[in-house]
């Protein structure tokens, strides 16, 4: 049957949409870069003047030490966790929904958190703990109501129903947020709401890190350990079922992990956009589709990206630039670059 071998028509060879280096080696490079950026950012700042702090000053100046370990370090760790969480969760969402255009907050999580934060600012006044708790609570209320609504929709597949519910619930919270902004005191409450919505790590302290550390670590661990199975969940349910997967159960576990890490970091940092959408695309550009590598890659790239953005946010001007503005700006620009550069597909 030798004619069979010739009969397959070969399409023109497409260039591998990534680097030719082995994925493991590339991950190692990204890890080294991330650690490097962490150390660099720890020493970078505006004290006593813009630049890197010297070891000598660190040894002699008590204020410098306190600045580094009580202000910069918790902030840097939070930036790292924020970037890793949003990116890993973004990758989970994009795989599970087989849709490269979703981001971790879209199931009512982001808008829920925003509404919760604004509500707390108006009702409870300016209390960081209150704002965080309320944001966290409403993030899960957003997810829960999206989920319940999806179960009640009478048409379409499960994914379509979840996406639709997510959009509707987000819109509800968004209009609720509009009402809250309208009734907020324009001199005291409104600026605070706006600041929260723009996202910032300026006020992060050790207790914040302590609060989010465990849930974020657990969630990331679940996502990391199940990263290969994300590939299975990106298939149609019938197919993943035929491959021995329990699609419903495994998807729920991963979704809960992804939402938990997202809600945790959003509760302390506010709205930090575009990280969760853009970074997984960048990872796929480097590693191809396999979630075994894109998940880890997303975490490393996301952590680095957030630390760099926050570095710019706190050093570029003498005042603080809200982090969310920077991530959206840089993220959107990068996304444009990704879309128009060769061999990258945003859809299909």
């Amino acid at each position: 049957m030798s004619f069979l071998n010739q009969s397959i028509v070969k399409p023109p060879e497409r260039k591998h949409p990534g680097l030719q280096a082995s994925p493991e080696r590339l991950l190692l490079v990204l890890l080294v870069v991330m650690v490097g950026v962490f150390m660099f950012s720890l020493f970078l700042g505006r004290y006593p003047k813009l630049g890197l702090m010297s070891f000598q000053r660190l040894a002699e100046d008590d204020l410098a030490r306190r600045l580094m370990f009580n202000l910069r370090l918790p902030r840097l760790i939070t930036a790292l966790l924020l970037g890793m969480s949003l990116s890993a969760a973004g990758n989970v969402f994009q795989m599970i929904f087989s849709n490269p255009l979703v981001e971790p907050g879209f199931l009512g999580v982001s808008q829920g958190a925003a509404f919760g934060a604004a509500l707390s600012i108006i009702v409870l006044g300016s209390s960081a703990a209150g704002t965080q708790t309320s944001a966290l609570m409403f993030a899960f209320i957003g997810l829960g109501s999206s989920y319940l609504l999806a179960q009640r929709i009478r048409f379409g597949g499960w994914v379509l129903r979840l996406v639709l519910s997510g959009i509707v619930i987000s819109a509800l919270f968004s209009s609720g947020l509009g009402v809250l902004k309208y009734i907020a005191d324009p001199l005291s409450q409104l600026p605070e709401i706006t600041f929260w919505l723009l996202g910032s790590l300026a006020h992060v302290t050790w207790p914040d890190v302590r609060n989010i550390f465990i849930p974020v670590l657990l969630g990331l661990l679940v996502i990391y350990r199940m990263r290969w199975r994300l590939n299975l969940l990106s298939l149609d349910d019938t197919i993943s079922f035929s491959l021995g997967v329990a699609p419903g159960r495994e998807r729920t576990l991963l979704l809960v992990a992804a939402v938990a890490v997202t809600a945790a970091v959003v509760s302390v940092a506010g709205m930090v956009g575009w990280v969760g959408l853009m970074v997984p695309h960048l990872a796929r550009r480097l590693f191809g589709a396999n979630a075994r590598y894109t998940t880890t890659g997303s975490m490393l790239i996301g952590g680095t990206f957030a630390m760099l953005s926050d570095g710019i946010a706190r050093t570029l001007l003498t005042g603080e630039i809200p982090l969310g503005i920077l991530t959206s700006l840089i993220g959107a620009l990068l996304f444009i670059f990704l879309m128009i550069s060769q061999n990258v597909r945003v859809t299909e």
């Binding site: 049957m1 069979l4 071998n5 009969s7 397959i8 028509v9 070969k10 399409p11 060879e13 497409r14 591998h16 949409p17 795989m95 087989s98 849709n99 490269p100 350990r225 199940m226 290969w228 199975r229 590939n231 299975l232 990106s234 298939l235 149609d236 019938t238 197919i239 079922f241 035929s242 491959l243 021995g244 997967v245 329990a246 796929r284 191809g288 589709a289 396999n290 075994r292 597909r345 299909e348």
Partner: protein
């Protein structure tokens, strides 16, 4: 000892509890190491039958037995090791390489948190070789033609090392060469102890690779048995509700369908 691998016992199934019954009082036995073709018009419940065999759909009444035991006594992973599926079409959302995609077939053999290793990769490469795509394993699935994709799906199902392989209209959209290649591979599977159940609406496909034939009509099995007995003009005419004649040309069974006027008219137009 019975050599029945898969049995449907008086199955009743409807997608909506109050809706139209898709399958009604359906009973069928599939013997080990056979290739069974399920033939019938569109919408008769062929795909539903495969989904029931897979355990993806659960019948309202009756039961499905795999190797003598009800499906629900198997764990998810066990079923994944027993049964493979080649769907009619599969949407690929991300840019996987052929090898990465075929490797997904190893899922039922891996522990929940582990990932495929060297041995799994070898099996996947082997399966790609079987379907004649060994030299393409680093290509992107999304860059393949529909027919080639179908072969990749077959390779993934082979990587699963199933005892029972279900093919749902797997040849429908293939050109002749890909169709031939797929049929060649499928026909040889029985030598490796794999039982095949395939649905098709192409009588020729059934006639050339199946050992057994199941004719379905209105949610029921009308006839089932060895292909030589069942593949007759009379039976096919009833099944499809269109005149069908069966002839033997160079030792092969072929089905001629449609009324004579249609074909005469074509001939005249061609002159």
């Amino acid at each position: 000892m019975s050599n029945v691998l898969l049995a449907f016992e008086k199955i009743a199934f409807a997608y909506d509890a109050n809706g139209k019954t898709v399958l009604n009082e359906l009973s069928l036995e599939v013997e080990q190491n056979t290739v069974t073709a399920i033939l019938g018009p569109n919408g008769v419940g062929k795909t539903t039958l495969l989904h029931l065999a897979l355990g993806w759909r659960v019948p309202q009444r009756g039961r499905v037995l795999l190797d003598g035991k009800p499906l629900n006594t198997y764990s998810r992973r066990e079923l994944g090791q027993w049964i493979g599926l080649v769907p009619q079409y599969e949407h690929v959302s991300f840019d996987y390489s052929l090898l990465e995609y075929v490797l997904l077939g190893r899922a039922p053999y891996l522990k929940p948190l582990s990932m495929p290793g060297r041995k799994d990769t070898e099996l996947a490469a082997e399966a790609l070789k079987t379907v004649g795509m060994a030299d393409m394993m680093h290509r992107r699935v999304t860059a393949l033609s529909g027919g080639e994709r179908q072969l990749v799906l077959l390779a993934r199902a082979l990587t699963q090392q199933p005892r029972l392989l279900l093919l749902d209209e797997a040849t429908s959209h293939l050109d002749l060469s890909n169709k031939l290649r797929l049929m060649d591979v499928v026909q040889n599977l029985t030598h490796e102890g794999i039982t095949v159940v395939l649905t098709t609406h192409e009588p020729e496909v059934a006639a050339s690779i199946a050992s057994h034939l199941v004719l379905m009509r209105a949610g029921k099995v009308e006839h089932s048995g060895p292909i030589e007995e069942e593949f007759t003009g009379e039976r096919l005419t009833v099944t499809y509700g269109v005149p069908v004649e069966v002839s033997e040309v160079s030792g092969r069974l072929i089905a001629l369908w449609g009324h004579e006027n249609l074909h005469r008219k074509r001939n005249r137009d061609g002159q």
